[in-house]
Structures are given as C-alpha cells and as structure tokens.
Point group: C2
Chain length 170, copies 2
C-alpha cells in the first residue's frame, strides 16, 4: 500500500516537519508560504491529513478543546517526505485565464479588454508589494523559503512589465 505521495500531501508533510500543527494552522501556514505557487483548499488539508494518518505518516492528536486536533509527523513520515523531496521535480503547470483573454483578444470588446488589463495590473502590483514587504524578514529567518519568494518577486515584475507593454495600454 505504499502509494506515491502527491505533491500536496508531501508539502503538508514538509510543513509538519517544522512543527506539529492543526489542520487549520496548516492551511494558514500553507497559504502564506507555499500558497504563492501552489494552491490548496481547506477540505483538502483535512482529507490529506486523513490519508497521511492512514499511512502512518502523521499522528492525529486527541480531539481536545474546540475539537482541535494537532498533527505530528512520525519518523516514517519524515522518511517519506525526505524521499519525496529528493525526487526530480516535474514541469510546472500554469493556468492563466488572462492569457486566454489576450490570446483571443480579437473577440473581446475593447473596453472589457482594457478593464481586465487594468485589474490584472492592480492584482499583480499588489502581490509584488506584499512580497517585497516580507522579503527581508523571510530572508533573515528562512533562507530557502526566501528563494522561493524571490521567484515570486521576479515573476510579478515580469508580468507587470509585460502588461505595461500590451499595445492597448500605451
């Protein structure tokens, strides 16, 4: 029954290797770190936690106050995580709805196109600001994660530059 871990489960394990957390905490932690380049929902966290527990990779604590159940990674879990993280990573997968809008721009009413572009720009600018506001602190505390954040910064800058060069925005 040693099915492969999926990336989501593995990331959860990775976070649990830092410290024990409840599902709720895990989700929050995930969102503001890995969440920048990997999406997840809350249900998924609990689901994955279940299967992780079935495989003996985490231990679900007692249901204490507020039903809170802290998950702790087991030695087997650490081992599984280490094995997973050391495999060659696959290609990334992007799904960028705005690129569909651009790709089919000829079918989009000009006003809508401009509006959508402005909104995208705002979103990405806000994300960049958020990343920049964190980067120094993260770099000091967590070197490896800060490199992933560097990617986010480079990415957002590239997106913004590209948006600014769109012909209908100049």
């Amino acid at each position: 029954m040693s099915r492969e871990l999926n990336a989501t489960a593995a990331s959860l394990l990775g976070l649990l290797a830092w410290r024990p957390m409840s599902g709720w905490e895990l989700y929050a932690e995930f969102e503001h770190t890995i969440g920048h380049f990997w999406s997840i929902t809350r249900s998924q966290v609990y689901r994955e936690l279940q299967t992780l527990a079935e495989r003996g990779y985490v231990e679900l604590g007692e249901s204490g106050a507020r039903e809170r159940r802290v998950s702790t990674i087991t030695p087997a879990g650490r081992e599984a995580f280490n094995a997973w993280i050391a495999r060659m990573p696959g290609a990334e997968q992007i799904r960028f709805p705005f690129l569909l809008t651009v790709f089919f721009a000829e079918a989009v009413p000009p006003a809508v196109l401009r509006q959508a572009t402005i909104e995208q720009r705002r979103t990405h600018a806000a994300r960049l600001d958020g990343y920049l506001a964190q980067i120094d602190e993260v770099r000091a505390k967590a070197p490896a994660p800060s490199l992933a954040l560097d990617f986010g910064i480079a990415y957002e800058r590239a997106v913004l530059a590209w948006i600014d060069a769109l012909p209908w925005m100049r």
Copy 2:
C-alpha cells in the same frame, strides 16, 4: 441546462471559431498555442467535445477517413464563446514543483539539488529558444496570440535569471 462553460471547453470553442477541426487536430493546435499556459489531455478534448455537442455549441460531423470526425462551431457556440471570453478573467494558478524543491531545499541532498536545478535550467532554456524561434512568424500572422507568446518569453527569461541567481549555482 445553460451551465457555465469552463475555461478548457471555452478555449476549445475559441479554436473552433477559427476553423473546423477534428479532435486530434484540436489537441495538436491547442498544445502548441494555448498549451504554453494551459494544459489539457487528449481524452479531455473528446470529452469536452461531447458536452459541447450536447449543448449545441458544436456540430460533430460524419465519421470520415480514419474515423475522423470534424467539429464545427455553431452560431450558438460562437455566442457562448463571445460571452465567455468577455467576462473578467480570474487569478492565475501556478504549480511549480521545482519551487517546492527550493522551498524545502534544506531537506534535499546537495547533489540532487544541483542536478534538479541544472535540469530545470535546461528545460526552460529550451522553451525560451522554441518561443524565440516562432515569435516573428507568429507576430506576423496572429497578433493577439503573439502577445501571449511574448508573455512566455518574458516568463522564461525571468525564470532563467532567477535560476542563475540561486546560491548553489554560483
């Protein structure tokens, strides 16, 4: 029964708005255009084609040579596509396994880390080359799609620059 189109089905419709195609062709066309920023599998193409046909958005032709069935977009299909493409696009979704490797780099054996990085670099460099080889031709023939390709170019350049700045690569 007028359920929302999903992005995948809508993109397929968008391609069919250019010209009628068989599922096979659709997949090929998709792969080397939209495929750069949206993934799809062959089974999915056929499945979506089925539901698109059920909703009257495409017409599946007679089975011709080699079982080939050409799909043609209907007026209702064009309308549905135009409505879909004019809605505000949502946020993009990235899933970048290598970023997990980087994020958890402390748990990765140095040799593996270096190896993975080199492979990533090669992949992205190859993609960039591929895009650059096409861009002039695409720009001349299909202005809007070329803007999406421009994004690909900007993206790959950003990734390469980021990779080259990783501390274990210098």
